[in-house]
Amino acid sequence: MPEMTFRIWRGDSSGGAFAEYRTEVTEGMVVLDAVHAIQAEQAPDLAVRWNCKAGKCGSCSAEVNGRPKLMCMSRCGDLPPGETVTIEPMKAFPLLRDLTTDVSSNFRAKMAVKPFKPRPPDAPDGTWRMDQADIDRPQEFRKCIECFLCQDVCHVLRNHEKHDSFIGPRHFVYAAALEMHPLDTENRLADLKGEQGIGYCNITKCCTKVCPEHITITDNAIIPLKERVVDEFYDPVKKLFRIFRPGNARR
């Protein structure tokens, strides 16, 4: 059975280096399997996060040959044969150890988004009525598994470290799911424009490219939110209209 060489980042916040491991790779194996094999056979102290091995828990995010990926969904057979495979932790978050990072900035960013605020129930039994056509858009966003690969690849976080002034693509997806929800009555546009920094996104679409759930982050969440921000803050004609047609124009 063929062997493959893996170059894995080993280290913690005080420093580290790449270590090379060779392990047998069989048909259908994914990178996470290889990491587990290395952990079992050669490096019992190798830190790696995982849970479902099915691409659904979002735990095993890392960078395989420089590309942000779920290790459990990256087949070894799809990697260039005969070449060493580089596995690194995500770069946009503080390193804990080896392949694990501290993603808690994401939890803080999520808390900053105003929660769901539904209108009063439609029926006496306290339930609501929605049309599937209206919920299609938020449903795309609800596929998010919070793997944070989009946050990792986004240069605003990765290269410019604006974690405090930019909530990042995952949380724009979250905000969009709420903002476009047919029952929601909250207005998050001032936050998005202000402290959540949607203006920092320069729509380079790297987030969309890495999303394992194939959420069209930039086109379906971020740009529509940017357009709503324009409505509210940058479009004088729209403003004028609103004077004559008060109330929430979005419903």
Binding site: K91, N159, K162, Y200, C201, T204, T218, E227, V230
Partner: protein, 272 residues
């Protein structure tokens, strides 16, 4: 857990990446494609001649010169170059109007993302290190001005109407007896394809998508808006392809008319 910033030491600086593919190829192609267009269209806009073709009764006008507000061709709306036009400014009918489609493309969400990468390396490509550490994005001046895109869209819509008329005129040919008859020549097709591609691009605009329904949370019970939103969304999914196809073809249309006017191309008759 408190946040301690310890970036990995091996990934600093311009072009630093662990990617193994030719990540530079795509931004390079965008750079070359857009540069070629800017160079050609600027050159063509400054020519001020050979932008229309009337050989064998044709009515072709280069899209770079349409609408021709003032000018010497029969297509001019308000007659020749106005006397009040400053003498120190270079003159060409194209210079009066080209800022509108240029502004439309410049502020287009697709092109923005593409040229930020290709011309400004911000980032050079996904997961590749950047040359500068400071970053303001579209959060503050000057790039915050990109938010006027929808106004350029309104103008672009006007241009589509005008270019549709030009395409229609491209199917009419003057007779020897002073009348006009319908016909099809290669130029007619070139002008028609031009307006089709430009429409596909313009009608897939994100601002339009927002305007027709994206800005609403509920489209159920509004069948016309829902249908329109779905149509625009459908074009929007291919916005990048429309952007490139229409960019290439609008340049080619000018080139075709120009070459006919110069007498280099013979405008082949297809029907009539």
């Amino acid at each position: 857990m408190t946040r301690t910033d310890v970036p990995l030491p091996q990934h600093q600086g311009f072009g630093a990446t662990s990617r193994r593919d030719a990540w530079w190829a795509q931004p390079l192609l965008v750079f070359l494609g857009l540069s070629a267009f800017v160079v050609y269209s600027t050159w063509a806009a400054f020519q001020g001649v050979e932008y229309h073709f009337s050989g064998r009764g044709a009515n072709y006008l280069s899209p770079f010169y349409s609408p021709e507000l003032f000018g010497d061709s029969p297509h001019a709306w308000f007659g020749p170059k106005p006397t009040w036009y400053p003498t120190w400014l270079p003159w060409s009918p194209a210079l009066l109007i080209l800022w509108a489609p240029a502004g439309f493309r410049f502020t287009c969400y697709y092109y923005r993302g593409a040229y930020y990468k290709a011309f400004w390396a911000d980032p050079p490509n996904c997961a590749v290190g950047e040359p500068r550490s400071g970053y303001r994005g579209e959060h503050t001046f000057p790039l915050i001005l990109q938010n006027i895109h929808r106004y350029f869209f309104y103008l672009a819509l006007l241009f589509i109407v005008i270019l549709s008329y030009d395409a229609w005129r491209g199917f009419w040919f003057a007779d020897a007896d002073g009348g006009e008859r319908l016909g099809v020549r290669l130029g007619s097709i070139v002008l028609l394809v031009n307006v089709i591609l430009l429409s596909g691009y313009t009608l897939g605009c994100h601002s339009l998508r927002h305007l027709v329904g994206g800005g609403l949370d509920r489209l159920s019970g509004r069948p016309v808006r829902k249908k329109t939103y779905d149509c625009v969304s459908c074009l929007n999914r291919g916005h990048m392809r429309w952007a490139w196809a229409s960019l290439f073809w609008v340049g080619f249309t000018d080139f075709y008319v120009r070459m006919c006017a110069k007498g280099v191309f013979t405008d082949v008759s297809i029907i009539g």
